[in-house]
Amino acid sequence: MSEARFEVLIVGVGGQGVLTAGRILGDAAHATGLPVVEGQLHGMSQRGGSVECSVLIGPSESSFLRVADVVVGFEPLEALRAIPKIGPRTRVLLNTGRIVPDELTRAGRPYPLLDSILGDLRAVAGGLDLVDGRAVVEQVGVARTLNIVLLGALAGLDLLPFGGSALWRAVAGRCRPEFLQANREAFDLGQAGVAAQREGAGVSRERQS
């Protein structure tokens, strides 16, 4: 009953800007005139715990995410946690930067190999696009623009029911003036990075049938 609806799941670690990214995506949908339902669980969100946020864009009776059209993973292990919401129609956009859970550190256990995580995601998802968020953020020079890099990359995938310019306007609408320039750069670099991969120039774009 929700054929027209586009379902985005954003997952990451508290403090990465997951909820803000969700708000911005919701703002963009709202500004485009599309109904949108944002679901989130916070409360301890700023304290380094797992955070997830769903943004359901388009008309539907339902308020719940089923199988996501896109999963935006801010962190590999958190993307892995989202696997129940990933199916053959799901495109996964993943920031490869790792945040080692404290419990792993304490237990003296290693973080899983990135290749193994990517393998697990590939086994269930319809497509996987990788972003080296840390490298882009370093280029921008403002650490807290990671979420905007990923929103730019999401726009670059060209899957959303609205264009990149609508998404950028929503970013600008929630941005303090002194960070507008940095966010613009972050958004553009994210978008350009994914677009370049889409043209086959990059090595990190992977696609399954």
Partner: protein, 616 residues
């Protein structure tokens, strides 16, 4: 080492102001909590009060964005005071709202139970947010039992639009039936944002104050006359609910009839079983006639509700054969998947092919104390003193997690001090007994407990962790911050003066970033015979301003992998690539490091230094 200059740069937290700019008829995206606030504003609420508590906090934060001429919105030091303020406003003749989380209602219950007898003058609504699944609470009690207990109507919205409408209705019911009314939300509803059509504000005229001691003064003689009226009221509300259009019947197959309420209705709709559905607007009082006729129209009757079998038990008491909790969990948060699984178990839905469940259980990532959290050093000191620690509710409860693991007991708001006092009666004094309590929690319910400890000559140490905010819920003001909910300057409690006024003779204020001074203070405090209070006075790294100082790094050649810094539990410190005598050396993540210097102060080899090029 303590000559390190703890200089910090502060960045104002991005506070995106959003006002009630929406015009009536407009569709806006709001959360359940914002919808409750909007509904209260549209109903003409004039006074609103709350103590912050997840998932209810945003109700008052949202109300505070409406014009000050429309309503007075305030934080109170605890939920009972908030409800008392709302009661006073209601009896004074204006519509009033108190908001709280489920466990906050326990604190406010004393007022509620008798206010039920008294009733209202202008409408009085309690917005209570439950937390099924215990996302950010100490239990998952079902507040609907409290509505039955206090014999006040409860309305349970299933989405944000309904939250707005039922909030408005709650004020009308309150006045029509002379009763406080509970509006019950849950975490999922409170925090989901969806499109809502908003309406205009009505301004009910102020009702004249009623000079009516027999109604408003609960001495035994008067209370006895009120109790029968409460029972009469219950019957009247039930009849009204029965006669009206609040219960929604969605006729379907007559083989199964599902009675549902609140968020559970949304899950049932998601699953779309072949059944007739009766959606209730609330679970107390119940529309008995409607329920009986629904039961008679179906072969099997089933209740789908979240948490406790409140409706189910009531149906059984009516003599109706019903099914319910044998299929649907009584613990945790309900979900569409959970409802589907229950309906499969009940043979209402076919088993079908289950979606392939990937056998993956990634390492959990629970929340931790933030990098630079001013509470960290206190818990290091607790460990060093081998103290028994009665903790309290707040971020610092996270100190129970490895590697800090310094909190031994935590029960309820403000309970640390009383528990420590009781515990101290069970030891010979060889184990230091310490209560750790935050500034906001201390003002909430810790002050009477400290009074008790002094009065009864307890031998305990109280760690008053003053981080200048209500941190766990996202940084709300309280009487110790000097600011109101609307951000106006106001009197700021001086904790040292307050504690001394209670009779505490040993008080020391320390900076929790100064590790040696902090240790020394706790050593002396725990050796003091009597009540000693250490006030640590360092603001939260997140609120009211985000703190980010120059970051530090580990010079690996000097690191002996001793783990002293690791034991702080700082999330910026992780294992590095190098080894020393078979142990991992450490590294510091420069992006998340806020430069608090705690690790620098505990490092025995001085290998943690400012990142090159940074200027302290």
């Amino acid at each position: 080492m303590t000559d390190i200059n703890v200089k910090i740069e502060v960045e104002p937290v991005n506070s995106a102001p959003h006002g009630p700019s929406e015009e009536p008829g407009q569709i806006v995206g709001v959360t359940g909590n914002e919808a409750i606030a909007r509904g209260a504003w549209e109903a003409g609420v004039r006074v609103a009060a709350a103590y912050p508590g997840t998932p209810s906090t945003e109700i008052l934060e949202s109300l505070a964005t409406y014009p000050v001429d429309d309503l007075h919105a305030q934080w109170s030091p605890n939920e009972k005071v908030a409800l008392d303020v709302a009661i006073g406003a209601s009896l004074g003749g204006v519509r009033a709202l108190a908001a709280m989380k489920h466990v906050g209602l326990n604190v406010a219950a004393d007022a509620l139970m008798s206010q039920s007898y008294i009733g209202v003058n202008a409408g009085l609504v309690l917005a209570v947010c439950d937390d099924p699944g215990i996302h950010s609470s100490q239990n998952e009690q079902d507040s609907r039992y409290f509505a039955r207990f206090a014999q006040i109507p409860v309305l349970e919205p299933s989405d944000a639009q309904e939250a707005l409408q039922l909030t408005k209705l709650a004020f009308e019911l309150s006045e029509r039936f002379d009763t406080p009314v509970m509006l019950r939300s849950t975490t999922r509803l409170s925090h989901t944002r969806s499109p809502v059509t908003v309406g205009p504000r009505v301004e009910p005229p102020r009702r004249p104050y009623r000079d009516d001691p027999a109604k408003q003064v609960m001495i035994p003689a008067y209370a006895r006359t009120r109790h029968p009226l409460v029972l009469e009221r219950e019957a009247k509300v039930a009849a009204w609910v029965d006669a009206g259009e609040l219960s929604i019947l969605e006729a379907g197959a007559s083989s199964i009839g599902i009675v549902t309420v609140g968020m559970a209705y949304s899950y049932v709709k998601e699953v779309a079983p072949p059944a007739s559905i009766l959606k209730l607007a609330g679970s107390y009082p119940l529309p008995e006639r409607t329920l009986r006729s629904f039961a008679a129209s179906v072969d099997r009757l089933m209740v789908v509700e979240e948490l406790e079998p409140v409706v189910e038990t009531a149906l059984r008491a009516m003599g109706l054969a019903t099914e319910g909790k044998e299929y649907f969990d009584r613990t945790g948060e309900l979900s569409a998947e959970g409802v589907r699984a229950g309906l499969v178990k009940a043979n209402v839905l076919p088993a079908g092919n289950r979606p392939s469940t990937h056998a993956l259980t990634p390492m959990p990532r629970p929340p931790v104390l933030c990098a630079g959290c001013p509470h960290m050093s206190t818990f290091m000191a607790m460990r060093a003193l081998e103290a028994r620690v009665a903790g309290d509710i707040g971020c610092y409860t996270l100190s129970v997690i490895e590697p800090v693991r310094a909190t031994d007991i935590c029960v309820s708001m403000g309970s640390s001090i009383g528990i420590a006092a009781g515990m101290a009666r069970t030891t010979d004094g060889s184990v230091p007994i310490v209560a750790t309590i935050g500034d906001s929690t201390f003002l909430h319910a810790g002050v009477p407990a400290l009074m008790d400890a002094v009065y009864n000559r307890s031998n305990i140490t109280v760690a008053l962790l003053d981080n200048h905010t209500t941190a766990m819920t996202g940084g709300q003001e309280h009487p110790g911050t000097g600011r109101t909910l609307r951000g106006e300057a106001t009197h700021r409690i001086d904790f040292e003066q307050l504690v001394r006024a209670l009779g505490v003779e040993w008080v020391k204020v320390v900076d929790s970033y100064d590790v040696p001074a902090l240790y020394q203070a706790y050593r002396e405090a725990t050796q003091f015979d009597g009540v000693a209070v250490v006030i640590s006075n360092r603001p939260c790294v997140l609120d009211p301003v985000k703190i980010k100082g120059p970051p530090f790094e580990v010079h690996a050649e000097g690191c002996t992998a001793c783990q002293a810094c690791m034991n702080l539990g700082c999330p910026s410190i992780t294992w590095g690539d190098g080894w020393y005598e078979g142990r991992h050396k450490v590294r510091i993540d420069a992006i998340s490091c806020v430069g608090c210097t705690l690790c620098v102060q505990v490092c025995p080899t001085d290998c943690i230094r400012l990142v090159a090029g940074q200027d302290a």
